[in-house]
């Protein structure tokens, strides 16, 4: 059996990226990008169908890859050169060390190291296909959106040199690398793709080449490269000890009584995944990534970069269940979930709220992976799906809103539903998707809660109970801003058609997911769990799922029917209550100085209690300490156990 779609999906974006770089006429390049995005989307579909026709069974390919291996090594060295060059150019030479050392080690392993077992380098199963679908659909939609967005962006930000060819090039490299990443089973390949995403994100964040952007991009780079180092050390140690570099073998050996090298490798790889998934203490790179143009934030946050970390953790999940690595990961994840959601409360910059909530949601997924039981992975998968769609929707929407409103501050969105109705509606759907009841996010949280109770993970139970309360808080208050009544004049909506297409597809996807969600669970996610754990506990019984479907219909129907009913009720309008000193419109009152004063209503932010400034450093300190201590304990116990 052969699946030609796989190399296509990995290589095609790379080819397109070269095209992007070469074509300097915007119209043509846009058209090519558009078409390529559609092709990628279609191919993802074809891959899925093809694989499905083969019976949804895990499949392995490419055992003999001598040539490709050399190519991969070459690419790795190329990446190293790029990093070294840039770090010297921008005066941060030490960063290059983080790239040179692991590359050298890997090169040594490949060229001089012992002969490794022959393994299949590519593996297709439920999880990787799921990731492919997310990358293929969301990623491509983001490209389509970027076509419209970057046009407006460059139009309004004249101070930023127009390097769209470069931007699109990196976008496509990114997509290719992500496909490669989720489809590879060879740890060496994974390492390359890993480093590629790190470098691409670095380049994307630094796109504007302004001081802040460069600063933030280097932060992202060193954090991710640090993870890369850990990954690399883990791989080499594992490979030297066990004579193979296969991820699936690693996981297989990791379940049950694992040899020391496997334990250490898993811990190191999981640690690497933490950096990629922007968990505390490494969350700052994701926050800094906000300086980049919105499509890249959307791409980094929803579909690709951070999901890579989650993907790795999901893969490792069976090997983390019940051991110290799992405890560490679930603690870090839970802690990040809670503290990032608390910090999100203090943010009023829309993009920062999204960033914080991304970190927080990823935390929950990481925690799910750390517990490593079928139930939690079930929840984790749904969290991932819903998060990908709604975050991507929100990021794109906020970008479009910023272009029209010239601000992305949540406070400026007062009454947005009256001023920019379409975008506000999309935003509304996206936010609802993030936390409201019939939407999947909340149900996933519910499942996560239940699973962690089952696993006796007390701390996680607390994190989830409190975190879910804080999460609703910051989302709800944002939603409230959108719908508040205002008489301010409408804003001209200058959103491009491309952006609208992408946004609408996302919104429809969101609603569809919400309704199809029980179906998805039984058809796809449960087999996934079977594959991973060879057991599948139904977290939420079918019975409940049916009730949920009814609930969902009801949920959509109630406001609708209520609306229809209330439409005919005669109501008189009145002025809002302002202690008796309205001036006839609802946006102002008679001020103390005898002149009309504008009414301003701001949300609560608790900036003194949960501001980033207050909480970030303590959180980083706590998590760093936990990671160092736990890592030492894991390594010590693994090695110690080995010695005894």
């Amino acid at each position: 059996m052969d699946m030609w779609e796989i190399p296509f999906l990995i290589c095609f974006p790379l080819v397109v990226s070269v095209l992007m770089f070469c074509i300097r006429i915007n119209k043509i390049r846009n058209a090519v990008a558009y078409v390529s995005a559609v092709i990628i989307m279609l191919m993802t579909g074809v891959l899925t169908v093809h694989w499905g026709m083969n019976g949804f069974a895990p499949a392995e390919f490419y055992v003999e890859t001598e040539l490709v291996d050399h190519f991969i090594l070459g690419a790795e060295i190329l990446l190293m050169l790029v990093v070294t060059f840039l770090s010297f150019k921008y005066n941060r030479p030490w960063v290059s060390l983080l790239s040179i050392v692991p590359t050298a080690v890997i090169a040594w392993l490949e060229l001089e190291g012992p002969e490794l077992d022959a393994i299949s380098h590519i593996k297709v199963d439920h999880l990787s296909i799921l990731m492919c679908i997310i990358i293929g659909i969301i990623g491509s939609l983001i490209v389509i959106y970027a076509v419209g967005y970057m046009h407006g962006y460059q139009h309004y930000h004249t101070e930023i040199p127009d390097r769209r060819y470069y931007f699109f090039m990196i976008l496509f490299i990114f997509l290719g690398a992500m496909f490669g990443f989720v489809l590879s089973d060879s740890l060496l390949w994974i390492d390359l793709f890993w480093e590629t995403t790190s470098v691409c994100s670095f380049l994307l964040i630094g796109y504007t080449q302004q001081e802040e952007a460069i600063h933030n991009s280097f932060r992202a780079l060193w954090m991710n490269l640090l993870g890369g180092c850990a990954l690399c050390v883990g791989i080499v140690y594992f490979a030297l000890d066990q004579g193979t570099a296969s991820l699936s073998v690693l996981v297989e050996q990791g379940t049950g009584q694992a040899p020391a090298s496997v334990q250490v490798a898993i811990a190191l790889i999981a640690f690497a995944a933490l950096t990629k998934a922007a968990q505390l203490p490494f969350s700052k790179w994701l926050l800094g990534a906000m300086v980049a143009p919105t499509p890249s934030s959307a791409l980094l946050h929803s579909a690709t970069m951070v999901k890579a970390g989650i993907y790795v953790l999901f893969r490792l999940a069976p090997a983390m269940s019940g051991n110290m690595t799992g405890t560490m990961i679930s603690f870090i994840g839970g802690f990040t979930f809670l503290s990032a959601s608390i910090m999100a409360i203090a943010q009023s910059d829309g993009k920062k709220v999204l960033a914080m909530s991304t970190i927080s949601n990823l935390g929950l997924m990481v925690a799910c992976a750390g517990v490593g039981r079928p139930e939690t992975i079930w929840a984790g998968c749904f969290l991932m799906i819903f998060h990908a769609v709604s975050k991507s929707l929100l990021f794109q929407d906020i970008g479009a809103t910023e272009n029209s409103l010239h601000s992305r501050d949540v406070e400026e969105m007062h009454g947005l539903l009256y001023r920019l109705p379409v975008l506000a509606l999309f935003m509304f759907i996206g936010i609802c998707g993030m936390f409201l009841a019939p939407f999947g996010m909340l149900i996933s949280k519910w499942a996560a809660l239940k699973a962690s109770v089952d696993e006796n993970n007390i701390i996680l139970v607390f994190f989830i109970c409190f975190g879910s309360a804080t999460t609703s808080f910051y989302w709800t208050k944002w939603l409230g801003k959108l719908i508040a009544h205002t008489n301010r004049p409408p804003v001209r909506d200058i959103t491009k058609k491309n952006e609208m297409i992408s946004l609408s597809i996302h919104a429809v996807l969101m609603l569809a997911l919400c309704i199809l969600f029980p179906f998805l669970s039984s058809v796809y996610v449960e087999p996934l769990l079977m594959e991973m754990f060879s057991e599948s506990n139904q977290v939420i019984s079918n019975n409940v799922l049916y009730i949920l479907i009814i609930l969902i219909c009801f949920f959509f129907a109630v406001p609708f029917l209520a609306y229809i009913y209330e439409k005919n009720v005669k109501t008189n309008k009145k002025l809002s209550y302002m202690n008796g000193i309205n001036t006839g419109k609802n946006d102002a009152f008679m001020g103390s100085m005898g002149a009309e004063k504008e009414l301003v209503l701001a949300n609560l932010y608790f900036k003194d209690i949960c501001g980033q400034r207050k909480l970030m450093n303590p959180s980083i300190a706590i998590t760093t300490a936990v990671i160092i201590i736990m890592m030492c304990m894991i390594i010590a116990s693994a090695l110690g156990g080995g010695m005894i």
């Binding site: 009145k574 002025l575 209550y577 008796g580 000193i581 309205n582």
Partner: protein, 152 residues
């Protein structure tokens, strides 16, 4: 339907000397306890049925009084408490007092007294709630007759 059992008050201090003002409050406290008549003292014109106004009207509070009255949903009743609210009282000759509450809004019940005693205020509320009921009934009758007319 009997709606007079639940007259909710809105109290606004026009320009009273506090005398009537605190007597309005006193009529809600244990010794007089207007709540046994179903009274609730809301601070919100949206939810009020009876506007108790104390003190006269001056140039600055006239728009406020008018506005509060306008924000009350119908049916509604206005009670002027104290002679200041009735006529301007001792202050009616000053330059700043325009007169009683009836200068800007229609007053239904006048409660005299300086300061108006809690008993008088309770009397005023009782009269006001009868009026409240009556207005509601009138409105119902009107609606019924309109419906009847439409059916014919």
């Amino acid at each position: 339907m009997n709606i007079k059992r639940s007259p909710w008050l809105l109290h606004y201090d026009g320009s009273s000397c506090n005398g009537c003002d605190i007597e309005v409050l006193a009529s809600l406290t244990p010794v007089y306890d207007a709540e046994r008549l179903g009274v609730e003292n809301t601070g919100d014109p949206m939810q009020a049925d009876i506007l108790l106004i104390t003190g006269g009207i001056n140039t600055q509070n006239a728009p406020v009084v008018k506005q509060l009255y306008d924000q009350m949903p119908r049916p509604k009743v206005v009670v002027a408490v104290g002679i200041c609210a009735c006529t301007g009282g001792v202050f009616k000759e000053t330059y700043n007092i325009l007169g009683g509450a009836d200068k800007v809004i229609p007053v239904d019940i006048y409660v005299p007294g300086c300061a108006a005693r809690p008993q008088s205020i309770i009397d005023g509320i009782i009269q006001a709630r009868e009026l409240f009921q009556q207005r509601s009934d009138e409105h119902d009758a009107l609606m019924r007759s309109q419906k009847g007319a439409a059916n014919v």
